[in-house]
């Protein structure tokens, strides 16, 4: 499964780094490194909704506060 987080300037200012860090942590904690391919990408053209995240091409708007919820509800349910 491909999980991409926008690290473009706008999302970066909205906390994409914290989102990435949390996701990395959650992936490691749940031992999902083999299953989830986490990567950074630049600008998805939806800066208003940042931090922009895609899960196998489906778009999600995530913030550092909602990252954990997002992981549990959206990511885990797909496994």
């Amino acid at each position: 499964m491909k999980l991409m987080v926008c690290i473009g300037s706008s999302c970066h200012l909205k906390g994409s780094r914290q989102v990435v860090e949390q996701l990395q942590h959650l992936i490691a904690e749940n031992d999902l490194k083999e299953k989830i391919d986490l990567g950074g990408t630049f600008c998805m053209g939806k800066c208003q909704q940042g931090v922009c995240v895609t899960l196998d091409n489906d778009f999600y708007s995530v913030t550092p506060e909602t990252a954990e919820d997002f992981f549990k509800t959206e990511v885990m349910s797909r496994l």
């Binding site: 690290i7 473009g8 300037s9 200012l13 780094r17 990435v20 860090e21 950074g40 990408t41 630049f42």
Partner: protein, 473 residues
Amino acid sequence: MRKFDTKVQYLKYKVLREVARMAWNDELFDKALDIPKIIVPGKTPTMRCCVYKERAILNERVKIAMGGDKTNPNVIEVIDIACDECPMGGYEVTDACRGCLAHRCEDVCKRGAITFDHHQKAHIDKSKCVECGQCAKVCPYSAIMDFKRPCVKSCKVKAISMNEDKAAEIDNSKCISCGACVYQCPFGAITDKSFILNVIDLLKKSEQNQKYRVYAVVAPSISSQFIYAKLGQVITGIKELGFHAVVEAALGADMVANEECKELAEKGFLTSSCCPAFVDYVQKQFPDLAPYISHNLSPMATIAQYIKKGDPTSKIVFIGPCTAKKMEFQKETVHPYVDSVITFEELQALFDSKDLDITTLSETALDNASYYGRIFARSGGLSDAVAQGLKENGLDHFDLKAVACDGIEACRMALLKASKRVLDGNFIEGMACTGGCIGGAGCLTHGEKNKAEVDRYGREALEKTITDALKQL
């Protein structure tokens, strides 16, 4: 507002702007031949002997703006008919010699090359003179002048000579495409080929980034350019041209610094690989040291590789101060990642070809890289970043002795010493341009304040350390 240092740059810009304007409108192939007359209308010459010569030269400039001579692999090209065939006699005594009694010139000349005629005026015996310039320095009347061609003087790798027609000729086996001659030739007879048409084509065929996305990777030296506008407005301007996103090459620099310090600690001696002209120089003039060139790709290629990993169909255009990057992106190791390269001069031409006044635009944030990645743009920055990288990677025990070489002459000295194993240092930061990238030939302006601008841009980075910047990747 003054955008360029010289009128040569301004002329080159006008050609690029007209070529780009027509290319956007798909009119180039019908109207390219009209460009010289658009730039030089009327019958009064302002640059050369007559408007016809001016237009003939402009025709050559149009060709170079459209990609230049495909049979010449070098991106730096001489426009034969634009070369003014400057005198190149070396040191000569001028009429200002008053025939004094002191004869300081004679005393200082170790070769005995100075003689005097019966008016006591000095003459230089060219068979003895070694062009050391001491006589010129001591003459109280500054009567001795160096008649060396500006291109030859600027070319520190001695790649420029004179062909049988007395026009300048570039030896591609020596040339490192640094662009020093491009910036220095007062007649604009040496110039860098442009890839603006490729870039316009990439942008148009992307159909507003629907078919594939086009990313602009900007060099950190951009902070010292376009100073008539705010940096955020320049970024918006780049997006207005049709780029999907603007990414800092400085983030690639962070990635490079993080790897380069580990490589250095492992190997014990290294030269940098960021400056393509420097890398080319080492390979051409010091092949014995080539194995010590860092195996890292340049920051440009590193960040491009990263973008393509996440977005495999994307196209990447590097925008920077550098003519040598136009060579680098064509290398087998780099071409898979970087699709084209343009300079700041060419970016200005692209803005104006779309009548984009960037000072009226809103600002777009540009953030990702750390302070250290950003200061790569000036001499000494890379060394600072490697020192920081060693610290952040817990490699403090490695005793870094960086030699930051500012300009190709300084690089030559350090490389000579290194090849004789007498260099007091274990890391050579090689920058072909004086001052580092901010002295690049593709810069709009080369000012005293540029270094301060880069440092300020560095300090504005939200990411204070290299690790901070890399954590997001």
